[in-house]
């Protein structure tokens, strides 16, 4: 057999200028960045402080960065699709079908797995241990490994842009179309290995966070004192633990079909493709709530903080969260009402689906009453939250409409569906991501993001969203189905033009976001936050310095009620003094470790080799992975110690800033 398996010069699409140029640009940019870091001598710093870091805050930041980069990639895909559909009326457009199919598949895959998931996991990583009042997650090295495996998946998907092709069968590639017979190229294989590898990372994240939240909390932090964000993180991670194995198993079956000639889902030898659709949605529906729940958590924090009130109906919120967590596992058939399971099955699953609206509705009303009687400050995060409340309610409503089988019989796979899920995903996940980033950015870096550019980004995003996706609702009602590379129906064309205009507005939003970051970094001294509490926050992450020291808290906070930090602040203001200085003790922290990076390195090699059937390289990669495992198991020292006086020094700085804040507060004479 060929030494390089199926890989050859022809794998690179020399004849297709668009991906080639795009790929070249990405790689030149990547190369430039790498070259710059090496030349400037930043590599040792990067290696020491970031690549090998096992600090949950650093990992959270890296996840978020990955998500933003992938958002841009997914956005470029979106621009291509919208422009193609704008011009492909009775015309072939500029993207041939085999290419167009890869674009929407890549867009969906990247957006869900490598933008939305890392965005949420990134925020959870950064925030959850801080809000629980502890020093790190349960398994810090595993945490780093999770991140790097996710990055591996993202890398593989992006390699497919230049070397070979990507999955042409949709973001959930239904067999038999995705079987070897109908998709003989390597596209589906790229998809499978990227998701199998990153899926392991996500599963480990789930395990890590469930354990963290259930077992590692500050003294006094009982379950019913945790923030709602921690609750939603718990629910989301429980769902990851329960749902991602289903994805892995299903994709493994398709992989066996494609690689070893099994017949799970083939047309031949008794295979049953309906089983794939059934199983993938048994993961798929929980997945959308894995994304939505942490977003709800972000908004709970934001709305309460900027209304200057505790969250209304905390216990209801907790109950609704866990309710959604469970009910999400009972609705998956609503994605294939039209496959013909019959009236009883459709009816039951339709009803179960609509019941989710109860849990979500409760949340909406609780946020509403949180604002009631508040003193609302419309800082950027709060704007995102308002945009979310309005937009998500509409998207949720269209979702419930799709849960009505006769309606779905007409709207399934139409652009109405596309509009529904962008409606909930963009308002529910993207807006939450942006709100969360703006809200916690000062915590992570010690300075705020620029408000003006942030608000501009918000308004462009909101308007851009409506202009892009409302027309798709109409097109769907006009019978336009999704994934069309071209079409001949005149009534659809105007709506496609409006949607294309919407994406122009979206592009302005992107420009504002980037400008916001650049401007904020330039003017970081003006935007500096010394107190560690720029928004008058209510939960424990605001009790420590910005950026927090490696150990988060010099002494673990003593939690005595809901909203512990708000209580500490009140006490300080009432007594006009900070709590007495603690007796500092040395702190042990986990040591940095390259394990995650090395594991990802070898899994990239193994994955690539599997995609191209380079078997010797597969063997090599697996052997190396085992070697890393043993090497990691052998290491003796897992922790290092920060001496007590270093802890004291760091904490005294923080206390000085807090004392100043208290002084200022006294003079301002403002009640808490």
């Amino acid at each position: 057999m060929h030494l390089l398996g199926k890989l050859s010069w022809n794998a690179i699409p020399w004849d297709q200028p668009i991906p080639l140029v795009a790929g070249a640009v990405v790689f030149v940019a990547l190369f430039a960045v790498v070259a710059w870091t090496i030349l400037k001598g930043h590599l040792p710093y990067l290696w020491r402080e970031w690549i090998t870091s096992v600090d949950h805050k650093r990992i959270g930041v890296m996840y978020t960065l990955l998500a933003l980069v992938m958002l841009v990639r997914g956005f470029v895909d979106a621009i291509m699709m919208r422009s193609q559909q704008a011009i492909a009326f009775r015309a072939p457009g500029y993207l041939p079908p085999e290419h167009y199919n890869q674009i929407f598949s890549a867009h969906g895959t990247i957006m869900i797995f490598f933008a939305a998931m890392p965005l949420m996991i990134g925020l959870m990583n950064f925030v959850v241990p801080l809000q629980l009042g502890v020093r790190d997650v349960a398994f810090p090295t595993l945490n780093a490994t999770s991140f790097w495996l996710t990055a591996t998946g993202a890398l593989l998907v992006n390699i497919s842009l230049v070397v070979g092709e990507f999955d042409p069968a949709g973001w959930l590639p239904y067999p038999p179309l995705s079987e070897l017979r109908y998709s003989p190229g390597v596209g589906v294989d790229y998809y499978l290995w990227a998701l199998l590898i990153s899926g392991v990372g996500t599963l480990m994240t789930g395990i890590n966070f469930v354990t963290t939240i259930l077992k590692i909390r500050a003294p006094g932090m009982s379950y019913l004192r945790m923030t709602i964000f921690c609750w939603t993180a718990l629910a989301a991670n429980l769902m990851i633990v329960a749902a991602f194995p289903v994805l892995t198993a299903t994709l493994a079956m398709l992989t066996l079909d494609r690689y070893l000639g099994f017949h799970f889902f083939t047309n031949a030898a008794g295979g049953n493709m309906m089983m794939f659709i059934n199983l993938i949605w048994a993961w798929g529906h929980p997945e959308v709530y894995i994304l939505a729940l942490p977003s709800f958590g972000v908004f709970s924090e934001v709305i309460s903080t900027f209304s200057g009130k505790p969250l209304f109906g905390y216990r209801s919120m907790v109950a609704a969260t866990m309710f959604i967590c469970l009910v999400s596992f009972t609705v998956w058939l609503h994605h294939f009402f039209t496959m013909g399971a019959g009236a009883d099955v459709n009816g039951i699953f339709g009803i179960a689906t609509s019941i989710i609206a109860v849990g979500t509705g409760v949340k909406i009303y609780n946020w509403l009453f949180t604002m009631y009687g508040g003193r609302i400050r419309f800082a950027t995060p709060m704007l995102w939250a308002m945009g979310f409340l309005v937009t998500f309610t509409i998207g949720g409503m269209t979702g419930v409409l799709l849960a009505v089988p006769p309606a779905d019989f007409q709207l399934h796979n139409s652009l109405f569906l596309v509009a529904h899920f962008h409606n909930v995903l963009i308002s529910g996940v993207l807006f939450a991501g942006f709100a969360g980033i703006t809200y916690w950015f000062p915590k992570a870096f010690g300075f705020r993001l620029h408000e003006g550019w942030g608000k501009a980004a918000f308004w462009f995003s909101l308007i851009g969203f409506y202009v892009t996706f409302m027309p798709l609702y109409v097109a769907g009602l006009l019978g336009m189905t999704r994934r069309l590379q071209h079409y001949e129906v005149a009534a659809w064309h105007p709506w496609m033009l409006v949607a294309a205009f919407g994406i122009v507005i979206m592009t302005c939003a992107l420009a504002c976001q980037v400008t916001q970051i650049v401007v904020s970094i330039r003017r970081r001294d003006e935007l500096r936050d010394e107190t560690g509490d720029p928004w008058d926050g209510r939960s424990l992450e605001w009790a420590t310095a910005s950026p927090p020291p490696a150990f988060n808290f010099a002494v673990l906070p003593d939690v005595r009620g809901e909203e512990p930090y708000q209580a500490i602040k009140r006490r300080a203001i009432e007594t006009q003094q900070l709590s007495s200085e603690a007796q500092y003790e040395p702190i042990e922290l986990p040591r940095n470790s390259p394990t995650g990076f090395i594991a990802a390195f070898f899994s990239t090699i193994t994955g690539f080799a599997l995609i191209w059937h380079i078997w010797w390289m597969v063997g090599l990669g697996l052997a190396a992975a085992y070697a890393v495992f043993v090497w990691f198991a052998w290491r003796d020292v897992e922790e290092y110690e920060i001496p007590a006086d270093a802890v004291a020094r760091a904490d005294r700085d923080r206390r000085r800033a807090r004392a100043e804040w208290l002084d200022h507060h006294e003079r301002a004479g403002e009640p808490a």
Partner: protein
């Protein structure tokens, strides 16, 4: 939203139904939207109103910094969505049963039988009682129920005529059932609603509803001309092709549809290669 709905009416979509099934689907769709709007609109108004009134700069608004619980409100918060959902649940249950695609429209009226085979990338319509067939063009009598039995020669597709109502999947080796009826004479756009590969965008067809007499005439005319569809012809047809102009077969081998369903033909061959095409051939794959 309501504006969008009205825009989408009366221009050839699902809100401009031309048959009883489509009309019922659309009715339920609109009813469900109305039920939900009754609660969603007040919610949206309240969101905006609260946000406006309780803005920090409004000194007239009362500030309740500790107000975070009210048992009565809590109850309302749960019961409003619960009641709406209960209502919807009834709609869902009844709708799912009354409009199940495989449910005959009117048992006393004998439907026209049409057998549908989705191929790469075109539609084959077989009229078993008339012994004819057509590709990418479906002619049915108006005001008469049509009973479709559907299957696929290759990958999954979804048979859908938006103005007539419900869609249904077509799958290899399986038969799904669908009843539709065109209420008027007219041409209706039909398509596949399930991605089926590179030629997917071309999987559209025209459903022509004609008067009963015109249908009989069409059948008679069709019997006079065109090729006959036998097994060899079917295998030729099942090769991949795009943009197939509509045409008809003057005769069809009688049990062809059953032979397709019973997997007497191998599944459609699929493309010959993609990038990094097949270099391994798993033993069992035919």
């Amino acid at each position: 939203m309501a504006l969008l709905l009205s825009l989408a009416g009366c221009s050839g979509g699902v809100l401009d139904p031309q048959g009883p099934i489509g009309a019922a689907d659309a009715k339920i769709l609109l009813n469900a939207v109305e039920i939900m709007l009754a609660i969603v609109i007040p919610t949206l108004v309240a969101v905006l109103a609260f946000a406006w009134w309780f803005r920090a700069s409004n000194t007239r608004a009362r500030y309740l910094p500790d107000w975070a619980y009210s048992g009565r409100l809590e109850l309302i918060v749960w019961s409003i969505p619960l009641l709406v959902t209960l209502f919807l649940a009834g709609v869902i249950w009844i709708g799912a049963h009354d409009l199940d695609p495989s449910r005959p429209i009117a048992p006393q009226r004998k439907p026209v039988e049409v057998q549908v085979v989705s191929l790469d990338w075109k539609w084959l319509f077989i009229y078993p009682d008339q012994g004819i067939a057509s590709v990418n063009q479906l002619v049915v009598p108006a005001d008469v129920p049509v009973h479709f039995s559907l299957t696929s020669a290759t990958v999954m597709n979804m048979f859908f005529v938006p103005q007539l109502g419900s869609m249904i999947a077509t799958m290899y080796g399986m038969v799904t059932q669908l009843y539709l009826e065109a209420g008027h004479v007219g041409d209706f756009y039909g398509e596949s609603a399930q991605l089926s590969g590179d030629g997917f965008s071309d999987m559209h067809f025209t459903l022509r509803a004609v008067s009963v007499d015109a249908f009989a005439q069409w059948v008679a005319a069709t019997r006079q001309a065109g090729p006959a569809l036998d097994r060899a012809g079917y295998i030729a047809l099942s090769q991949e092709s795009r943009h197939v102009r509509p045409f008809t077969y003057r005769a069809v081998e009688p049990a062809l549809f059953r032979a397709v369903v019973d997997r007497e033909f191998p599944a459609g061959p699929g493309p010959t290669g993609g990038t990094g095409g097949p270099s391994v051939h798993p033993a069992g794959a035919r």
